[in-house]
């Protein structure tokens, strides 16, 4: 029987949650025995090659590309997990949510004290994904099956959750493994 497949991505995140996944240390060798990685920055596979058992989502949705990737994950993954505070509540990028998007862009490209932008324009190339009006938590865009909070979630939290899922057991994390910071 083929090994179950895992896909991972970082949307509007800092890759800290992926670092935490790598922080499972030598258990990563055991993980490779248990699963194959599909689309993920870990193996640099850019597009899904087939159906995946588990999708790990780091980061919330700050632009239209984030939304497309997230929807793509929902289509391809049986179980989708929000990993970390950005995926769950927008996290640090969501600090802009109380400021209108126009003001954010003007501060970044026109008015900020360190801005050097001779064109005097806000970048509008169609190649650049359009920013959303605010940063959205993943579960406000697609259905998310599990949430692993933390900034980042401890390596043990990710490990315990994955092992439980892969062995068809309920995710029952001890008190110390569910923290918001």
């Amino acid at each position: 029987m083929a090994k179950p497949k895992i896909a991972t991505t970082s949307l509007a995140g800092c890759f800290g949650c992926h670092m935490s996944l790598l922080d499972i240390d030598d258990r990563i060798l055991k993980l490779i025995e248990l699963v194959d990685f599909d689309k993920s920055p870990i193996d640099d596979i850019k597009e899904f090659t087939g159906r995946c058992t588990v999708g790990l989502i780091e980061g919330g949705c700050a632009n239209e590309e984030n939304v497309k990737v997230l929807q793509d994950f929902r289509r391809h993954c049986d179980i989708l997990i929000s990993v970390g505070d950005c995926a769950i509540n927008g996290g640090i990028p969501a600090l802009r949510n109380t400021i209108p998007i126009k003001e954010c862009l003007e501060e970044a490209y026109l008015n900020g004290p360190t801005v050097h932008n001779p064109s005097g324009k806000i970048p509008g190339d169609p190649e650049i994904p359009l920013m959303l009006d605010r940063v959205y938590p993943c579960h406000e865009v697609v259905k998310i099956d599990y949430h692993l909070p933390g900034c980042p979630p401890p390596a043990d939290t990710i490990w315990e959750a994955l092992v439980a899922l892969l062995s068809d057991k309920p995710i029952e994390l001890p008190y110390e493994l569910v923290k918001y910071d």
């Binding site: 505070d85 509540n89 996290g91 640090i92 109380t98 949430h147 692993l148 918001y180």
Partner: protein, 240 residues
């Protein structure tokens, strides 16, 4: 009137004294009833509804309801904890609670209750309201993004400090804590040693320059859920 009152919490027979609230009598018997706007030493407010229990089938706030002989109280049940989870969820989405960089994280009662009740993500959509920060005072600041309107600072300043520094202003979603001064916190006579500053359960009213002093792993709720001290009998029994 007899010196003790017998009643039942979650099938356990409890003895309390006349005049005690359900919350106080439960605490004295090693039973933790989750609470947020209640703080020992302050007049109970009964506003956060976290301590809601069923008394003979009717919802009552345990911090304000006096005990009575023979009453049957339901506290630690899936139904009541589910309702409590809903309240905590709502508090999280209607403010801006960035736990990942908050100085209060690990010592925050709102966060600790979410941990205890096993919340991994709120079920309601986030509102991301625009709230003000008042950092005018040299030693203390107000971050209204984190305020849950429990009124503990209002009561502590009024009843313990005798200063009347804080008061609620506005109604509904516009309700907020304001200071009783010309303009800002700096214009009040609040001091670092005021009970009002200690009373805040979240990171809305904090002292400056002491953030992150306690490392992760040594904070109040890092290892044991909020209420564990009461359940293990370590906490001093509420006798006020």
């Amino acid at each position: 009137m007899s010196a003790t009152i017998d009643f039942i919490i979650d099938d356990k027979e409890i003895q309390g004294r006349p005049g005690q609230t359900i919350l106080e009598a439960a605490q004295q018997n090693g039973i933790y009833i989750p609470r947020l706007c209640y703080r020992e030493g302050l007049v109970p407010h009964g506003s956060c509804r976290i301590c809601t229990v069923l008394v003979n089938g009717r919802p009552q706030s345990a911090c304000t309801q006096p005990i009575a002989p023979g009453m049957i109280v339901e506290n630690d049940t899936e139904k009541m904890n589910g309702l409590r989870r809903n309240i905590i969820d709502m508090l999280f989405v209607e403010g801006n609670h960035f736990c990942m960089f908050c100085e209060k994280s690990g010592n925050c009662e709102l966060q600790a209750l979410a941990y205890r009740l096993g919340i991994t993500a709120p079920k309601y959509p986030y509102m991301f309201p625009k709230r003000d920060v008042d950092a005018t005072h040299p030693d203390i600041f107000i971050d209204r993004n984190r305020c849950i309107l429990c009124g503990r600072c209002v009561r502590a300043s009024r009843d313990v400090d005798g200063k009347h520094i804080f008061e609620f202003v506005g109604r509904g979603p516009h309700k907020r804590v304001e200071v009783n001064a010309e303009a800002n916190l700096a214009d009040t006579d609040i001091s670092m040693t005021d009970e009002a500053v200690e009373a805040c359960p979240v990171g809305a009213l904090l002292k400056k320059r002491v953030g992150y002093a306690v490392p992760i792993g040594q904070r109040l709720y890092d290892h044991k859920p909020i209420g564990s001290d009461i359940e293990s009998g370590v906490a001093p029994a509420s006798s006020r």
